[in-house]
Amino acid sequence: MKIYQNSNEPIYKQIASQLREQILTGKLKSGDPLPSIRMLAQDLKISVITTMKAYEELSAEGLVTASKGKGYYVNARDEKMIAEQHMRQLEEHLTNAIYSARIAGLDYNEVCETLRALWDIED
């Protein structure tokens, strides 16, 4: 896990987003344990409360659950919820793409062509 200590984004948010991605892409499977908050703090050289806050955020989103005395575990994959999360990310990325297109002076059709070309490459 990579965190930037001097960035504007609070460290706990960085941790939460990296773990979120790992869960959504399936790198962390349902039932997998997350490292204990203190061991993660040791590895990243940060305070325990920061890792705890990151885990609490993921817990509030329903991605992980705290098991008393045992730590945090990844929740069972809720396909609908995961699809929603991915949809949200897609919308965010597309919005950014539209913004860049506007600055570059591209119109709707040119953007679609670019999208088609990239889609074909990925296939």
């Binding site: 200590q5 504007n8 609070p10 706990y12 204990s36 203190r38 061991m39 703090a41 040791q42 050289k45 940060i46 305070s47 325990v48 409360i49 920061t50 806050k53």
Partner: protein, 297 residues
Amino acid sequence: MDTALNIKDITKKYKDFTLGGIDIEIPMGFSSALIGANGAGKTTLIDIICGVTANDAGKMEYFGKYTDNDRSELRNMIGYCSSANYFPMDWNLKKVAEVMDVAFDNFDRKKFSELCDKFKLGDPSGKKQKKLMKMSDGNRMRTYLAAVLARDTSLLVLDEPASSLDPLARDLLCDMFRDYLAEKDGERTVIFSTHNIADMEFVTDHAIFMAGGKVIEQGFVEDLKEKYILVHGDASVSEKAVPYLLSSTSNKTSFEGIALAEDAEKLAALDTAIEQPTLQQLSIGILRKAEQDYEEK
């Protein structure tokens, strides 16, 4: 969340200084920092917690079951060391190891040797032994730390452990705090005092600010960072902004200060820059306010 130490209305009166009434709850499993200027009462409070000094009034409850009458059980469970003059000056590493072994139930000689090695102090069983009085302040502090960290304790209470250490040693100390907490996940707690939180920021979970013998603010660091905001702006808007600020500094061109997050919208409307404060910036803001309040009296 469990409480490692519950301090209720602790008071201690000296000729020209009064501590108290102090009310603090130290959460178990985390690292709490006592932040304040010299003379704020941090050492007095730590001495009272560890049984070095007696309090005049108030109660303390340790680990949910012991009180200050249970000193004999607590002595083995609490790992305390002061910032200076902890051991007699004519002792050397070998003697420290010998006496610590006898003085406490849970001292691990092997761990002490490993720590002495990590802190670059030498070998406690070696032939050439340097006396504490001939060591630098930094090395003496490392000796005290090695001695207290080599014990299996449930609560570490350290008075200004970082003050005489160089940056490398401070970083090592932070790692040791994290190792200490991780070893018995959730059952161990660290309390340390400092007048310079910048170096210990990444090992502080909970902060307690002290000034003039009183606690002026306390809470988990992440919560405090959301409760307060750091505000900067041009000198032209400082007059309008200052009433919202807890404390501030200003010069001809700009001003900077700490305010409550609930006033963020109002301050943003005045064309100021708002961001989340670091613990260091928060400390400066809070302690400055305490100083201003004191001067007004």
